[in-house]
Symmetry: C2
Subunit: 358 residues, 2 copies
């Protein structure tokens, strides 16, 4: 087992990464507050891993909420079901919420924990690659709004993250690839050596080679932990973790949540960010090609869906948390392995990129 | 104008108390973040004060959300309308929410600000006595759940509180009295001299004598600010601010939100807390009589509604944020002017109090 520490003073916590961790109840137990535990999971994950998780929690009064599976259910309305479950079980402020599932479950369970009785403890048990390398770490929780992704939420840190790599064995191909998109992101934004490693090991990752997966998860979590420790509430550098996300959120919102997977939309977004970075003279054409090649090898899309036209794309991008006073800012690449947040580009270049990448 | 400071390090803020403050736009302006301002108010308050407020905000891009008036609308569903309004106006993370209204508006607008894009600035402009002396100060925000009051919310501090005492001139009698209940609370929990002052000045308060009102608001805010500064997130002493609230919340939830005003339910709750404190040997019969007399003079109820029977009352009280591991704790009075939080009483005594006060 590997432990990566997220260093946030009194809110610091460990990320446990390894095989067979779900069976090791003692890992969770030391992070549980109180005697009441609410497991939030979904209809896909519950039959696979709920029993194993509950086995390690026999000394607690446990309850569960099982939500439908999919980004389209990450709404304020479905969030209400978690509160219903907590209150029906008469759980107090001294309870712990455990998120067992992918990014949607983690975001919703974390946000519910942030709000229930104005804040209770929670633990992330991510079961998808995307959640293990990205969404379960760093305390961003949220639900979507029909007009924008993750528009309603909280910064709220978990007590620990337990990433059992065995759970990736049941992940379907498409979900695995979506997770690889966020792994590639870390290489692009701040870890050029990792990008090269990924070019060399992408086939092993897709073949679910346990060693390659563990290495990729650890390296991703290290990168994320460092950025989050430097800027917990995204007043600056943390925004680079959103490479490809403004483009990607536009696709997710525009097509309707759940049509594309988040990681797929982010993959296209990264291709678009690379395209615009080339137009600004920061990336060379061969470098952009390397980005596109890696995405292609990972079986990820590189083109935005044609049903969202350019004007609509621009409109959707205008609803983004990085907008300041009506001015859009984007995460772009100064070079492979170095991201920057900038609003300093001519709109025509952005429009050309959108046209180019559809 | 009087200024009371709430001392919370980097989250410190002033409470401005005085006459004609709504017309003094400069007071608000220095606390507004960004160029976008969303005013959240209700159908009762909007026709009275929205125009005056907006007059001072001419340099900003302003939008407004006008909610229906009443505790029964303090729900997750109605909260969604604030998010709809913010997104429809394309407001960014650098916007400011202003709550213009009573406790319900303040709680909802504050919670919306806590969650919108994971947190934007907000300002409280309380227009009821209850909001000016209590709910607008201290950063507790929330909505209700059918099973329990204020069960979904956040600790989230405003940038300032602007209490224009002129707004109390349009407050109806019943609302004024409900506010007086929370004023009396401060005397009971930690300010015996203020309790005596209230016994002497209660008629002036009810007659809306401006000087008496200003003094009562200032003294209340001072008390609240000190307690909040000592324990922002209610890990200890802050719970004394909930004197009468566990009983009161049971009445509000049991009758259906909006049937009784919050302050009315709290008044009965304080009578019940005094009754139970007497049974524990802490208050004398004459002291309890003084509490009941003051509530009576203020025109407040002292008896719980008979339609909630004892068993149901106990059940409703079990859903309370002060419950730890299934064990109910209550704020009781060691003496007039000194509250304590305790779970150390025999259930029969609590049952006798409920029976006695119906």
């Amino acid at each position: 087992m590997i432990t990566v520490q997220v260093d946030l003073q009194e809110r610091s916590y460990p990320i446990y990464i390894g095989s067979s961790l779900l069976d090791q109840g003692h890992l969770l137990v030391k992070h549980i507050v109180g005697s009441e535990v609410m497991v939030v999971t979904n209809e896909t994950v519950a039959p696979l891993y709920l029993e194993a998780l509950l086995k390690g929690l026999k000394d607690y009064r446990c309850a569960q909420v099982i939500l439908p599976d999919g980004e389209q259910y990450k709404t304020l309305e479905v969030l209400g079901r978690i509160f219903d479950g907590l209150l029906k079980a008469h759980f107090s402020r001294h309870c712990t919420v455990i998120a067992l599932g992918g990014g949607v479950i983690g975001d919703m369970a974390g946000f519910a924990a942030a709000c229930y009785q104005r804040g209770v403890a929670y633990i992330q048990v991510p079961t998808t690659l995307l959640a293990q390398v990205d969404s379960s770490v760093g305390g961003k929780t949220a639900v979507n709004h029909p007009r924008g992704k993750n528009m309603i939420g909280a910064f709220y840190q978990p007590r620990c993250v337990l990433a059992d790599t065995d759970t990736l064995n049941t992940l379907d191909e498409r979900q695995l690839r979506a997770g690889v998109a966020e792994v590639i992101k870390y290489g692009l934004i701040r870890d050029a050596a990792f990008f090269v490693w990924l070019e060399e090991h992408i086939d092993e990752l897709l073949a679910r080679n346990p060693l390659a997966l563990a290495q990729a998860i650890e390296r991703s979590c290290h990168n994320k932990a460092e950025v989050v420790a430097a800027d917990e509430r995204e007043s600056g550098i943390r925004a680079i973790l959103n490479l490809g996300h403004t483009f990607g959120h536009a696709i997710e919102t525009g097509l309707g949540y759940g049509t594309w997977l988040h990681g797929e939309a982010v993959a296209v977004g990264m291709a678009m960010a690379a395209n615009l970075s080339r137009r600004l003279g920061w990336l060379s054409t061969p470098e952009v090609k390397r980005v596109l090649n890696l995405l292609e090898q990972a079986g990820l899309p590189r083109h935005a869906p044609r049903e969202i036209d350019k004007a609509r794309f621009m409109e959707l991008m205008a609803v983004d948390k990085k907008v300041i006073d009506g001015h859009l800012r984007l995460v772009l690449l100064k070079q492979l392995g170095q991201a920057t947040v900038t609003g300093d580009f001519r709109p025509e270049l952005l429009e050309a990129t959108i046209e180019d990448c559809r």
